[in-house]
Symmetry: C2
Subunit: 196 residues, 2 copies
């Protein structure tokens, strides 16, 4: 192609680096940017940088936050006897949206995956253990119901067993509104084993 518009190509290249955005979508987005008011695009550019500049990791629970420690850790109305352990900070947002859970969180920063070099030392496991002195009574293991998430939960349950704190795992079974007919075998087996 001997016809190039440099700044447009540069934008397309940069947009195509985002996950789930291919070359075609990037081009479509770039043309949208061309047609949009400069003010709106400037706001997007500012928001991108603001996130990088303002959002950090909470030094207690490793949740993302603008103030350290985070809002949840310092909130006096949260139940400090329960810690819900999740893989990623995005999981906190999902759980908070339910408005059901009133305890604290601990973000591991991933799940065990020895093949990819994710060993317990790479996760915030030591930091979790150091939070257990004193008032914590229950640890909820809310890692994903995937092979890695399950392995992480099993590993943590083993480590936490010796400490004498109550350890629970979020239930795995058929999703509400689901149909037994279409459930996969692993889920169905879990649902029967964990009947209550």
């Amino acid at each position: 192609m001997n016809y190039q518009i440099n700044s447009l190509n540069l934008l397309i290249e940069n947009l195509a680096k985002l996950p789930g955005i291919g070359k075609k979508t990037a081009q479509r987005l770039a043309f949208h940017v061309l047609k949009t008011e400069r003010e709106e695009i400037a706001e997007l550019a500012k928001a991108l940088l603001a996130v990088k500049d303002n959002v950090k990791s909470c030094s207690v629970c490793f949740n993302i936050t603008e103030n350290d420690p985070c809002e949840i850790c310092v909130n006096p109305r949260r139940d400090k006897t329960i810690i819900c352990v999740v893989e990623e900070a995005s999981n906190v947002i999902t759980i908070e949206r339910l408005n059901e859970y009133r305890g604290l969180y601990h973000i591991l920063g991933g799940a065990l995956s020895p093949l990819n070099g994710i060993t317990p030392e790479k996760l915030k496991v030591r930091e979790l253990l150091s939070r257990l002195s004193g008032e914590v009574e229950e640890i909820i293991l809310a890692t994903n119901p995937t092979i890695e998430g399950e392995a992480t939960a099993i590993y943590l349950a083993k480590v936490l067993k010796n400490i004498g704190v109550k350890v629970t795992r979020i239930a795995r079974g058929l999703p509400m509104g689901g149909d037994i007919e279409y459930a996969d075998e692993v889920t169905l087996a879990k649902a029967i084993a964990n009947r209550n």
Copy 2:
């Protein structure tokens, strides 16, 4: 939701304004931004603004360009006797990618659509006519094969008839690799009528 991270929410809101990006995708992208190096995000922000600041419309053909008149209009090796009329600047990039067409372009800025208030005055039709004095010998109507694009081509053909320039329309028929069995009726009828 009483748990908010302001700069993250602002970014999600801004990303969700982009076409084809819903709330969920915006959230996924925002978390990607969080995990990405600041340098890479700064580059994206810069590229966004550079497009708004550097890319303008060519005063001759209304193609997008960083220099006015655009590269194609000033290129002495382009055939100045042919003008290819398209709806949008993105069409130029697509046609240029073929490396087949060596003439000039004219970008209408859309297609006729009276119901949406797009009348000939809203498109760069007058500007096209003002380019026809002198060396132009052929106008290729390369508007989309949609109702609006066809209407625009018919309108332009009528207007250009009186000027005495040769007017052609890109062929509409079965796409290469297609199957007559699965062609829609309108396309098949066109393909038979335009047999050559």
